[in-house]
């Protein structure tokens, strides 16, 4: 197990990258601690898969260095990197039994048969696969096959990190929840570093200790789920993390203040700013609605209520025609057409200047 450092690591598939646009992954600096769970999150084509391929050794990066426990592994081939990987589509050795699958990496390393037997038994117990050990691996279901892939990493004692490349894609929706839980439990029990690649923000949020959000090959923000949720560094993270996305309300500079006619909320105008766009970002979860106007910062008319089960999403139209969304559990008591008082904690209303979180809001 190891600490992983990405040092100014970048990649271009072109031989001579000219500008920023030629990079599939623009150079980044990141440090990942041992034993934690990480998620690489972004839309397709954002560079997350390139980053994963660099870490696994499939793609040699064109720029920068990759360090495992302070050792430069940038040019080390996959087989010598001590990583394990679970792929989108389950990869198993179809001619072997589950037991032989789990034993395979150890056999390749020439471990003594008695030791192999012991390790395989331990891992099978951890994965709840004891009962299936002598079944042909190809006969198991997709989620069990994913566990075998994971198990082939877990049996090894030299693994620095387990890479998970959208491993839940082909899993039945009902099993996803269970498999995600299993992954987390294994991380807790073994202390194995896990790196998950996904486009699903809810999957990333529930799985990872720390999330790396990417877009167009550029790192947007790296932080704990809590940080990403409550302090998105830019409008993209505000949009990408959370469902529905963060509400963005345009502010106008006026007498040293930034304000909007929609809500009674202001932010001080930063000095020496020559920015063109000022926006206030408010999470739908942070908007509290009340039937009365008490302590409210504005009024909004309900134009739509969406029932999502326990939660509901209420769409509100503010006086100037600005539309925002709020998430609540009290939606069953509201009706379309009602006018609601709105309140938001000052610290939950964030100022974005040209799309970037202002330093005063950090």
């Amino acid at each position: 197990m190891a600490k992983i450092v990405l040092e100014n690591l970048g990649h271009s598939y072109l031989p001579n990258p000219k500008g920023e646009h030629d990079f599939a992954l623009k150079p980044v600096n990141l440090t990942w601690q041992d034993g934690k769970t990480y998620a690489l999150l972004g839309p397709s084509g954002c560079g997350k898969t390139t980053m994963l391929n660099i870490i696994s050794g499939l793609v040699p990066p064109s720029h920068g260095r990759l360090l495992f426990d302070d050792q430069d592994v940038t040019k080390v081939p996959t087989s010598a990197r001590n990583i394990a990987q679970v792929f989108q589509f389950p990869v198993i050795y179809s001619t072997k039994t589950v037991r032989q699958n789990l034993a395979f990496p150890l056999e390749c390393r020439g471990m003594a048969p008695a030791k192999i037997k012991q390790r395989v038994a331990e891992v099978a117990t951890l994965l709840d696969l004891d009962y299936a050990l002598d079944m042909p691996a190809r006969k198991l279901s997709a989620d069990q096959k994913q566990l075998i892939s994971l198990g082939r990493g877990l049996v090894r004692e030299d693994v620095s990190a387990i890479l998970l490349d959208e491993p839940l894609t082909v899993i039945d929706p009902q099993m996803k929840f269970m498999l995600r839980r299993k992954l987390r439990e294994i991380n807790r029990q073994t202390g194995m570093t896990m790196i998950l690649v996904t486009h699903d923000q809810s999957e990333a949020m529930s799985f990872a200790d720390e999330i790396v959000v990417m877009k167009d090959g550029l790192l947007q923000q790296s932080g704990t789920p809590e940080e990403l949720f409550s302090r998105p560094q830019n409008d993209f993270v505000g949009y990408f993390i959370g469902s529905p996305p963060m509400n963005m309300i345009t502010l106008e500079p006026n007498l040293g203040l930034l304000c909007t006619a929609a809500l009674n909320l202001t932010k001080p105008l930063p000095l020496e700013s020559n920015a063109t766009v000022y926006q206030m970002g408010i999470r739908p979860e942070h908007i509290v609605m009340a039937a009365k106007e008490t302590n409210s910062i504005g009024m909004g008319k309900i134009i739509k209520i969406e029932h999502l089960g326990v939660d509901g999403i209420v769409t509100l139209e503010l006086p100037t025609g600005v539309v925002i969304k709020a998430k609540t559990r009290k939606h069953t008591e509201m009706n379309v057409g009602n006018t609601m008082g709105i309140s938001v904690c000052d610290e939950d209303a964030l100022l974005y200047i040209d799309g970037t979180l202002s330093s005063s809001s950090r």
Binding site: D172, E185, Q201
Partner: protein
Amino acid sequence: MLQIDHLTTADAKVSLDDVSFLFEAGNIYTILGRTGAGKTELLRALMGLNPLTDGEVKLDKENITKRPIRDRNMSLVYQQFINYPHLSVLDNVAFPLRRQGKKKAQAQALASTMLGTVGLGDFLHRRPSQLSGGQQQRVALARAMVKQSSILMLDEPLANLDYKLREQLREEFPRLVSDNEESVILYTTTEPREAMELGNTMIVMHDGKIIASGAPADLFANPPTKDTASVISDPPISFISGFVSNKTLYFGEGQIAPSDGLQLPPDGPVTIALRPNAIERGGDFSAKIGLSEFSGSQTIIHLDFAFGRAIMMVDGIEAFNSGDDLRISIQAEQMMLFAPDGRNITIRDNQDG
């Protein structure tokens, strides 16, 4: 209006088992069910793509059970992004109109308008393979809608899209299908939230049967059976077994007396269903934390009781350590009870909870 009576099929994997329903024009029906519940099979049977062993399909009172596919006046959007690879986006959408006998110019004009509606006005002359997944699905949707057919069916149309694209298309969906407001719209999905968000009426399928239907909010609040409750709950609903004896509900070390929020059935075994909002922090019960996950502004906690497992949600973000003990209480007014045969036997006095 589309009426189906006793639809039955005999497919190798999933078959329909005596399905009857009446679909009204101008409504959006979401069909919710797990993989293998028979959703796709139902759409395919309506379309005439899967043979029926029994039953009838009636469109506006006319029996169309034996009508060939091309004359059914229905359209279908598949889960996979399927378009004609050899045709441009414009010709893809014009294709069904040309088959209806419209002149080329007229067909292309209508197609181009429809493509504008789905936001692809700038991509008319590209090939589908040059578009992103989301755009390809918009082409498929445009092609299905441009015919103005009486039945518009969408089979998990968003399932293969990225999370955020899915969210975006879901948001736009009512506007996208507004052109077909005279049609019956059928939309299948495995996601409860999607089904509740998009449908006027929600139909729940399980094992090739329709097991419940109704307004989404009502169904969610009062699922008629245990299977329904389990299919429409996300995060999952937890079931624990208990029994009623002498006007008290017993489960594990817990017991609950009848109250305004929950009347108790006669003595006997019951299944208790707990949604995350039925469990709150602080109280009489001791539970072990299995795992905690962060979801938006909430924390999902997997609990292990002496008598089973359950999931609760806590507002805000909080770190919980696996293995710690947590005191919780169970809200009787949020609890649901099911009979051994799966019927919902929850009775409340105040019926709005």
